[in-house]
Symmetry: C2
C-alpha cells in the first residue's frame, strides 16, 4: 500500500511521472522499473546516501550504481530533482547536470540522457550500465577500491575514505553469471561497505519469472556469506530505511536487500505485466496512472517544493559532509603531505614522477625470456614506483606472472590478508574480474586483471565497457597463441587478437621481445582514458640485439622499422609477438642472399593507425607491394597491411595439442616458410 | 582412508598410475585431479553408468561429462580400461578407442589423447571440455535433450530415452558464472536426470581456495532447488555408490554430490598442494606414490584382471542394456514406424523430406519487413516440417521473434509446461544458453539460441566450442547494428560481426532482405558439422524486386551479383544486411547517371571464401579496383574485399542513443554518401 500523500510521496510520484513522460515522449524506453523503484531509490538518496549534489566528484561520496540500466529515467529524474551539477572537462561547473529540457531529450541524438546511463557522459552517473550484471560487478570493484584506499590512506582521526556502495539490481542481474561471480567474490572479501538492493518484481521480458527463474535468491546470497534482508513492499519507505540502517550497521559482510515490487506500480492496466517493461505506457494509461497517484496531468511536471525538499535532505546532508571532508583533507594534507599528494595524483589520474625509472632494459639474449616473464618483471618495476597499481589474475597468477612481489594479498583479516594488499585473487571468475577491474578504475586506483588470452572470451563485455567508459583498465593476457602447446585447441587463441583489436578504443599490444615488453608497459601506463590489452607469450622469445636493430621505443608508434637492408625494400616482413623472431631470422638470411628486405615490428595496430600518414608511409611505403605478415592468429584484418599483392602466414583454423616445436612445423611457422613467401613476394 | 586392497582398488589405482605416467611422459598435464577422483569416477562407471563400451554411439547410454577437462587422463584411462571401441566416420569399429600406446602419446602431435578431451576426436568423449564451466552447462543441455526425446518418443512399454547425465566438476567450475547460470536453469527445470559430482579439493592454481572461494556451495545448490548430498571422503566408494542411488531415485530434482577429496591423493609430498594441479609429479614422487598404492613401478602398467573386471561390470551391464534397448527399438519400429523414422533421422543428423517446403517467398515491398521478423516466419515454416528443431532466447523471444507458434513451452509440469515443449526459456543467461544449446545438439536434436547480437559477447566461449566440436548449433542474433537505435552504444554491436567471422568454422549470415533471410535458413539448416550465426535487423528492410535483381539463392554462395549494369563495372558496391538497401538505391542512381555499377550482396564471408576462385573472380573481378563496401560495423576485415584502392563505409567507433534516422545521418549511412564514394572510386 502507498504511504499517505505528503512531500515524500510527491517526490516519489514525480520521479515516476517524469520517467513515464520521458519514455512516452521518446516513444522508447523502460518505464515500469523506474515507477516500481521510485520509493526505494528516493529513500536511499534522500535519507541515506552521503552525496553532495553540488560536487559530484567529491571523492568520499557514497556510490549509487543503477545496474538495471534500462531504468535510466529513474536515475536521470533523481539527478535532475536533486540538482546535481554538471562536470565539464573534469571540473564541476555551476550549471545543472540535467535540466528538464534534458529529460525531454531522453534518447535523442546528442542528448545528455541516452537510453542507458553512460559514465563520463552525464554527471551523477557512476558507471555505464545496461548489459545486465555489469553494474553489480562494477560495484564490487568500487567497494574494493574504497577498502583499499581506506587501508592505505586513512589515519587515526582521518577517516578519509569512508563511503558505502549501493547497487540497484533486478531479476536480469540475478540471472547473469557475472553477478553470481561478483557476489561470491564480495562475500568472500567480506565487503561490509556494499549493499545490493534487488528488485524482485517477478516479471521479465518473456513474462513471469516463473518461466525461467524460480530459485531462492535470498538463500543463495546467504550461501555467499551476505547479510540478507527482505522488504515486503517497495512502497514501504520507512521499512526500507530501517533495512538501510541495518545494512550500514553490518560492517563485516555485504548486505543483500530483497525488495518485493510491482512493475509499473500504479498503472491501472499495465502494473505487474511484461508490457510495462520495455515500451511506453501510452497516453491513456499515463493519464490514468497520474490520476491514481493524484499527480498533475501536465507532462514533465515538477510540483513546487520537490526540488527544495531534495535540497533540504540529500543536499543539505551531502553539503555538510562534503564540507567537513574537505576541511579534514586540508588538515590531512598538513599532517600527511606525501599521502595527500598521492591521493591528489590518484584523483587526477596522474603518475608519480619517475614512475618508469626502474623499468629494466634487457640485454641481447638468443635464448631469451617469455614475454609473460619479462612482463612480470616490468610490472614489478612499475609497481615499485606506482603504489596504486593493484591487480590480480583469475586463478592464474603463477602462470601469468602478475604477482606484485611483497605487495601482500588483498583479503579480509579473516583470510590472513589486509585490505591494503595489492594482489587480488579473483578466483576462476574472468567475467567478474573484468567488471571489478573497471569498478576499481572508476575510483582512480589503477587496476589490472590477468588471464590466458583464450579466456578473454569469458570477459569480453567488461573489456568493451572499459573502452566505452574511457577507463584505463589494464588486461594482461598470456599464453597468446598456439605457443600454449600441449593444452590444445580449447586453450589456444586464434580470433581473440582480432576481436580485441576490432573493439573500438581498446589498445592491443603484442610485444615481440623483452625490450618491447618494457616499452609496451611504458606506453600503456600513461593512458588515462582507454583500456589496454597486453598479449604475451608462454614460450621464450629471444631478446633482440638493439644495437644492431632499431630501438624498442618504436613500440610507442604501434609499428616501426626494426631492420632494413638500406635499399628500397623488395619485401617487407611484418610480424608481432612471438613471430617477430621468425621475421628477423628470415631477414638475416634474405639480406645475406642479397634480397633487399625490411622487418617491421607491429605490436599495436591501433597505435600505428593513430600516427600521421607520413610516418605510416615511411614504415610501410605504399610503393612496396612485396609484403609478408606473420602472426599465429586469424588472418582477418591483415589484408590491410599486406595489401592486394601481399601474403600472410597465420592460423586458418583451430590449433592442436602437442609440444610447441611440433605445432610450429605443423602450422607452417618456420623460417624457411617465411623465406619462401618473402622470395616469392620479391619476385625471386 | 583407502579401502582394502582388492580388484576394485587395483582398478582405481591403475587409473591413477596411468594418469601419473602419461602426464610424466608428456612432461605436461594435470595429474592431481585424476588421482583424487579415480575412486569416484571408477565407481560411477563400473557400478552405475549404463554404457556399452562396445557401442559408444548407443543413443540411450548414460552420459558422462568431464567438466574438469584438464583431468583428461582420468577419462582416457577409463576409456582404455573399459575397452570402449573406436568410431570412424560415424560408425563403431572393432578397434579400441584408445590403446595403451595412445595413452603414451598423451598431448603429442596427431594423437587421440590431446591435452583436453575433444568430442568427435576420441570415441567415449561426450563433449569437449577444458574451458571451465562449459561441461556443466553442456550437461544441462544433454539432460534437456533426454527429457525432450523421452516426452516426444517414449510410449507405454517403450522407455526408449531413459538415461542419466553425470557431470564431474571442480572448484573452477563452481566459480564460473556459466555454471551458476546452468545450475539455476537445471533447478528450475527440475531435471531429475542430472547429477553433478563436485570435487571439492580446496586447491586452485593460486593455492588454497580460501584465497578466493569460501562460499557455502552446498547451500547455494539447495537454493537452486537441487537435492544436495555430501561424500566426506572421495575414497569411500561404498558410500559414493549409495549417493548415486539416491541421485537416481530422486527424479524430480537434479542432484548435487559434494565430494571432499585430496588432490593427488597418495603422493607423499604433493598430495593436497597446488603443485599437483598442473604439472608432472616427477619421477621420484611417482615412485613413492606407486609404493604407497602398492602398485607396480612399471610405467603404464595395467595389472592382470583389471580389464576383465571392467568387462564384467560396466561392460556386461552395458551390453545387456544396449542389447535390450536395440530389441526394444526394433519392436518400437514396428509399432511406431513414423516415430522410429524420425529418431533415425535425428541420430543420423538428417532432415525430413520436404523440410523446406513451407519456406515462404516474399513479394517486392518497398516498406519491407525487419529481418528478425521474416526470420521468425521462416523459422516457423521450418519448424512446422522439422519437429526436432527446438530453441529459445535469453529472455528476449518477443524481440528476437524466435517463438515457435503452438510449440509449447519446455517446462516441468509444475511450471505449467511439458518436456515435449519446443520453446525453451533460458532466462537472462546468454552464456549458459550457448552451452546448453551445444549440449542439446550433442544428442542430435537441432537447437537454436537467440539474443541481441551485442550479447553474443556474453556467450562467445560456447559459440567457439560449437565450432571446435563440429556441432550444428544455430545462434540467432537480432538488433545487429546501430539499427538498435535508442538503446544506445551499450546495445549496439560494432565488433561482434568480425569476431564471429574470425572464429574458425563458424558461418555468419547477415541477410539483406526477407528473401535472403529465407535463403539463409535454407542454407544453415542442412549444416551438420558447424555452427551458424544469423545477424538480423531490428528495423524494416525493403524486400527487393527479385525479377529485376538476381535471385536470393545466391546467398548459398556467400556473395553474389545482385545487380549489374551489364558493362565492365567502374565500381562495385558490396553490402550486407540492412546496408544492402543503400547499395541498391545508390546503384539505381548511378546507372541512371550512366555509371557502370554493380551491387554484390555478401551475406557470408565464410561461404564466399569456400567457393572456387573462378566464382569469386566472377563476382569480384580482380581487374575492377573501384569498390565500396558498406556495413554498419567495424571496418576490420573488409580491406580484403575492397582492396588497396577501395573504400569502406562503416563504424569507426561506438554508436549512440537516438532514433535510427538520426544515427544513419550522424554516422554517414546515406545513399548520397554511397554515391559520392562510388563516384570517387569510379574516377568521376
Amino acid at each position: 500500500g502507498a504511504p499517505a500523500r505528503d512531500i515524500d510521496r510527491t517526490c516519489i510520484d514525480t520521479i515516476r511521472t517524469l520517467s513515464m513522460d520521458a519514455v512516452q515522449k521518446a516513444n522508447s524506453g523502460h518505464p515500469g522499473t523506474a515507477m516500481a523503484l521510485a520509493p526505494v531509490a528516493y529513500t536511499l538518496w534522500q535519507d541515506a546516501l552521503s552525496y553532495d549534489p553540488a560536487d559530484p566528484l567529491w571523492p568520499a561520496r557514497d556510490r549509487f550504481v543503477l545496474s538495471v540500466g534500462h531504468a535510466s529515467m529513474l536515475l536521470y529524474s533523481l539527478i535532475h530533482l536533486s540538482g546535481i551539477r554538471d562536470v565539464v572537462d573534469g571540473k564541476v561547473v555551476g550549471a545543472p547536470s540535467l535540466t528538464i529540457d534534458d529529460l525531454k531529450q531522453f534518447r535523442q541524438i546528442g542528448s545528455k540522457t541516452p537510453g542507458h546511463p553512460e559514465y563520463h557522459h552525464t554527471a551523477g552517473v557512476e558507471t555505464t550500465t545496461g548489459p545486465l550484471g555489469q553494474g553489480c560487478a562494477n560495484s564490487v570493484g568500487m567497494a574494493i577500491a574504497q577498502k583499499w584506499l581506506a587501508a592505505r590512506f586513512d589515519k587515526p582521526g582521518f577517516p578519509l575514505f569512508d563511503y558505502h556502495v549501493y547497487t540497484l539490481c533486478g531479476d536480469g542481474d540475478m540471472m547473469e553469471g557475472v553477478a553470481s561471480e561478483a557476489a561470491s567474490t564480495a562475500g568472500h572479501l567480506k565487503l561490509g561497505n556494499l549493499t545490493w538492493i534487488y528488485d524482485s518484481n517477478r516479471i521479465s521480458i518473456e513474462g513471469s519469472t516463473d518461466i525461467a527463474f524460480t530459485e531462492d535468491v535470498a538463500k543463495r546470497f546467504d550461501a555467499y556469506g551476505w547479510q540478507v534482508l527482505v522488504l515486503k513492499d517497495a512502497n514501504d519507505t520507512a521499512g526500507f530505511l530501517k533495512l538501510l540502517e541495518q545494512a550500514k550497521a553490518e560492517t563485516t559482510r555485504p548486505t543483500f536487500i530483497l525488495v518485493h515490487s510491482v512493475i509499473a506500480w500504479g498503472a491501472p492496466k499495465k502494473a505487474g505485466t511484461a508490457a510495462a517493461h520495455g515500451e511506453p505506457l501510452g497516453a491513456d494509461e499515463i493519464k490514468a496512472t497520474k490520476a491514481f497517484y493524484g499527480a498533475s496531468e501536465q507532462d514533465f511536471f515538477v510540483p513546487e517544493g520537490v526540488e527544495k525538499h531534495f535540497q533540504d535532505g540529500l543536499g543539505a546532508r551531502g553539503a555538510a559532509a562534503s564540507k567537513k571532508w574537505k576541511e579534514l583533507f586540508a588538515e590531512y594534507k598538513k599532517a600527511y603531505p606525501d599521502e595527500a599528494a598521492e591521493i591528489e595524483l590518484i584523483l587526477a589520474r596522474k603518475l608519480p614522477e619517475g614512475w618508469d625509472s626502474e623499468i629494466p632494459t634487457y640485454k641481447t639474449d638468443a635464448k631469451g625470456v617469455a614475454s609473460r616473464q619479462s612482463s612480470g618483471e616490468v610490472l614489478n618495476a612499475v609497481a615499485a614506483k606506482l603504489p596504486w597499481l593493484i591487480g590480480g589474475a583469475a586463478d592464474l597468477a603463477p602462470s601469468t606472472k602478475t604477482l606484485i612481489k611483497d605487495g601482500g594479498a588483498f583479503q579480509p583479516a579473516e583470510w590472513n590478508g589486509s585490505y591494503a594488499g595489492r594482489n587480488l585473487h579473483f578466483g576462476v571468475r574472468e567475467h567478474a574480474m573484468g567488471a571489478i577491474v573497471n569498478g576499481i578504475a572508476l575510483a582512480g586506483v589503477r587496476p589490472y586483471g590477468a588471464g590466458f588470452l583464450i579466456f578473454s572470451d569469458y570477459m569480453k563485455p567488461p573489456i568493451r565497457l572499459a573502452s566505452l567508459m574511457g577507463l584505463p583498465s589494464i588486461f594482461v593476457f598470456t599464453h597468446d597463441s598456439i605457443g600454449v602447446g600441449e593444452d590444445g585447441p580449447t586453450h589456444q587463441p586464434i580470433e581473440q587478437l582480432v576481436q580485441l583489436r576490432a573493439t573500438p578504443g581498446v589498445i592491443v599490444l603484442r610485444p615481440g621481445d623483452a625490450n618491447e615488453v618494457a616499452e609496451a608497459w611504458r606506453t600503456l601506463i600513461p593512458l588515462t582514458n582507454r583500456p589496454a590489452v597486453l598479449a604475451l607469450s608462454r614460450q621464450n622469445l629471444p631478446t633482440l640485439d638493439r644495437e644492431k636493430y632499431a630501438s624498442a621505443s618504436g613500440v610507442q608508434k604501434g609499428a616501426y622499422v626494426l631492420a632494413d637492408s638500406g635499399k628500397t625494400p623488395a619485401v617487407i616482413l611484418i610480424a608481432t609477438g612471438s613471430e617477430l623472431q621468425l621475421a628477423v631470422e628470415a631477414y638475416e638470411k634474405l639480406i645475406a642472399d642479397g634480397v633487399a628486405a625490411r622487418v617491421v615490428s607491429m605490436p599495436s595496430w591501433e597505435l600505428f593507425e593513430e600516427q600521421p600518414q607520413s610516418y605510416r608511409d615511411e614504415v610501410l611505403p605504399p610503393a612496396v607491394k612485396g609484403r609478408v605478415a606473420i602472426e599465429a592468429a586469424s588472418p582477418i584484418g591483415w589484408h590491410r597491411y599486406v595489401g592486394d599483392a601481399g601474403t600472410f602466414i597465420g592460423m586458418n583454423g583451430f590449433g592442436a595439442s602437442a609440444p610447441l616445436p611440433e605445432l610450429l612445423k605443423k602450422f607452417g611457422f618456420t623460417v624457411d616458410a617465411v623465406i619462401a613467401a618473402a622470395r616469392k613476394q620479391a619476385g625471386l
